[in-house]
């Protein structure tokens, strides 16, 4: 497996070979080596660094629906918790690919090599992020298209299934549920 460093030399090597290498069907694993940031407190999979990335792209991916009625304080937390709950149940292959894509997003040289913004995510402008998403969406490189598809699908699913967003989809909601008893499943001994 090719080990990519974040040193200038590593970056130059990557730039020279990245196009051909990625087009040949590389995976995020082959880009990232084995970085491991600790999981954020109260979360199952996501790291603090992932929060910056996801909350930076959310308004661009989700358009005018974000942050919506949840507001700028609550919306990021609701979205991040939902993403975390989904990613933890993915099986090993899909989960590791997604986490490694998040790793790529934390390294400025790798971001540049992958045509994502050079600046940190909190500093990236909406235009930078839109350019990055459009680039991945229409890329000739399958890995980038897969990255685009995974990001937009995960964020959309996690966002539009929240009852607070029903107002933006116009979904009138599900019927109310009244139970005969309020009893959790208790297994027999």
């Amino acid at each position: 497996m090719q080990k990519i460093t974040t040193s200038r030399r590593g970056f130059m090597q990557l730039s020279a070979t990245s196009a051909a290498f990625l087009a040949a069907g590389a995976s995020f694993a082959s880009l990232t080596g084995c970085t491991k940031a600790p999981v954020a407190s109260g979360y199952k999979v996501l790291r603090n660094t992932d929060f910056e990335f996801i909350t930076a792209i959310a308004p661009v991916v989700l358009g005018g629906s974000y942050p919506g009625v949840l507001g700028p304080e609550k919306a990021p937390e609701v979205l991040l918790k939902a993403v975390d709950n989904l990613v933890v149940t993915l099986q090993e292959y899909a989960q590791s690919q997604l986490i490694m894509m998040f790793d790529v997003m934390q390294s400025a040289p790798l971001r540049v090599a992958m045509d994502a913004p050079w600046s940190t995510w909190p500093e990236a402008t909406a235009e930078d992020i839109e350019r990055f998403l459009q680039g991945w969406k229409t890329s000739m490189i399958p890995l980038k298209r897969m990255g685009y598809g995974s990001l937009v699908k995960v964020l959309a699913m996690c966002w539009y299934s929240q009852p607070e967003t029903f107002i933006s989809s116009g979904y009138p909601g599900m019927p109310k549920r009244e139970l005969l008893t309020d009893q959790p499943i208790a297994a027999a001994d």
Binding site: L62, L90, L133, S161, L180
Partner: protein, 543 residues
């Protein structure tokens, strides 16, 4: 916006429903979570059934009826009607493989599959078709499948239709389904009413997130309670890690207990029985066989895996469609299905329900355009085409591989043969949508604009680029991977479901289909499992 706020569900409250599972637990059924057992517990039975979906659930009732001591193993949790609050978030987390985020290796196919007691039958959309005659004939001719002609299978299908209340839907279709009917009628294409496995259905539209009224006759409310009532045992949150084998015999199953996050707790349980039935579905079943290093002289495990790759188009209507309310599937068309059995790929046309989370994924894209599309939801209709894969030499299916930790990876590629069907199906569906009065249509492809006339769509759709992940391919039908047939170089189980290379392992699920079905597969699995479970009872009694 005030208009939106004022609207509410057609049926505003679901109340007064008894939960048969909670009642059964009170009555003393033998069921528990694997996490409650101590490490290295040893369980034994006459028959172990791995998986509680269409195949495992059906077999459990028949074998218990015959007086056998049955142990059911299920990797998913136990959820029942009091838990079904029609909320996508809870349903995907609790009852779907990988929270409904299961994907093929390259990310281009999204797979909806159940993971709970009752399996996919708890979350499917109730469409119940007998295996098409053309499919059964093809299996007999190409794979040497014996004793499964339409005539021979008819009594088994009839038995399961009776058991599960399968009948053509008597109520008017919701608007989402009416579009398919109206479009087909306008163009002079065949359409029919879908038979559904329901009793006393409220026409709510929430089949995909767990039926809150127990009207859907899933395994959860039919065969599994019946087996438990007669003393069968059920262990849930219990993943079968590997088969324990010696020579040509399976001695038992090594089980791993799973926590609430679906992660192994480290607790291991051993289950032993003289007969083992594998009914874990076409992805997890082959993965279990590969992990177990089961005998496979011709390297066929996990090969020829089929999915009915499914394409989507959307249509906007002036009036409300409310595609999330009402029986989700009630009308279908086979007009483009059987023009040829083995030539260019045929497809079945149906509609999907569109709850908001699911709809937002299918609408595929991001930003202002995607937001505009999701805002149309109450006026949106969607149609789907299920491509009948596996009948042509250019459609060999995908394969199941193992990840580093032994979990399955699904490698399935859309090739030129299937792409031809993708484009034809988009065209067929857009034409029907305009014929039914759509203002505009769009296909589920990131480059697709909204087309405002059939002429525009006819010119624009063939120009959409064939590149992976640019378009949605979905699947709710996992089939193949352990083909049934008498030709042992290509098939792994015989026509009665016995594994060719082991003496006491039986496979009763969709993984034995040598091709896709060409229709929603649940009744195909019920009928075949019913037949093969009865044959197994005879085998055991005569031994």
């Amino acid at each position: 916006m005030t208009d939106i706020i004022k609207r509410e569900p057609v049926i505003p409250v679901v109340a007064g429903i008894k939960d048969p599972i909670r009642d059964g637990i009170k009555a003393g059924w033998k069921l528990q979570s694997a996490t409650e057992l101590s490490n290295d517990s040893l369980l034994s039975a006459d028959v172990i059934i791995i998986g509680t979906g269409a195949g495992g659930g059906t077999a459990a009732e028949i074998l218990t009826d015959a007086g056998l001591n049955v142990l059911m193993l299920e990797e998913g949790p136990l959820k029942s009607s009091d838990d079904f609050r029609m909320d996508e978030r809870e349903a995907y987390r609790d009852m779907y493989q990988e929270s409904a985020g299961r994907m093929s290796k390259d990310g281009s196919m999204s797979i909806l599959q159940g993971r709970c007691v009752g399996g996919t039958t708890v979350i499917n959309w109730t469409s119940s078709f007998r295996t098409p005659e053309q499919t059964l004939e093809h299996w007999a001719k190409e794979f040497g499948v014996k004793g499964m002609s339409s005539e021979e299978m008819a009594p088994w299908f009839a038995k399961m239709e009776e058991r599960l209340g399968v009948e053509p839907w008597q109520v008017s279709p919701n608007k989402n389904n009416a579009v398919l009917k109206d479009g087909a009628a306008k163009l002079g294409l065949d359409w029919k009413v879908i038979p559904r496995n329901v009793r006393g259905c409220w026409n709510l539209g929430y089949c995909g997130v767990g039926c809150p009224t127990n009207a859907k006759q899933s395994m959860l409310v039919t065969t599994i309670p019946s087996a438990l009532e007669q003393g069968a045992k059920l262990l849930y949150s219990a993943r079968a890690e590997r088969l324990i084998m010696e020579g040509r015999k399976v001695l038992g199953v090594e089980v791993s207990a799973l926590d609430d996050n679906y992660q192994p707790t480290g607790k291991r349980i051993i289950a032993k029985a003289p007969h083992v039935i594998l009914a874990a579905g076409a992805i997890n079943g082959p993965a279990l066989m590969l992990r177990s290093k089961a005998p496979d002289p011709h390297k066929r495990i996990g090969k020829r895996t089929f999915f009915h790759p499914t394409t989507f188009t959307f249509a906007e209507f002036e009036e409300y469609v409310d595609p999330y309310y009402g029986a989700p599937q009630s009308i279908y068309s086979d007009h483009y299905q059987w023009n040829t059995v083995t030539g260019p790929v045929g497809y079945k046309l149906e509609v999907p329900p569109l709850p908001p989370g699911f709809a937002s994924v299918l609408l595929l894209g991001h930003g202002a355009n995607h937001f505009q599309d999701i805002q149309k939801l109450p006026h949106l209709h969607s149609m789907i085409a299920l491509l009948r894969d596996g009948f042509n030499a250019e459609s060999e299916g995908g394969k199941i591989e193992l990840s580093n930790d032994g979990s399955p990876i699904i490698d399935y590629k859309v090739n030129d043969y299937l792409w031809d069907g993708v484009v034809r199906s988009w065209l067929s569906m857009a034409e029907m949508q305009f014929a039914a009065g759509a203002k505009a249509t769009r296909v589920s492809h990131v480059d697709s604009p909204w087309f405002h006339s059939w002429e525009e769509a006819k010119a624009g759709i063939p120009k959409l680029e064939f590149r992976s992940n640019a378009y949605t391919i979905g699947s709710a039908h996992c089939m193949g991977g352990m083909a049934m047939g008498e030709d042992q170089t290509r098939c792994l189980v015989d026509s009665n479901g016995k594994y060719h290379h082991l003496d006491n392992l039986y496979v009763f699920d969709g993984s034995v289909f040598p091709t896709s079905i060409g229709a929603n597969p649940q009744l195909s699995i019920y009928g075949m499992a019913c037949r093969n479970a009865h044959k197994l009872v005879e085998t055991i009694k005569n031994a």
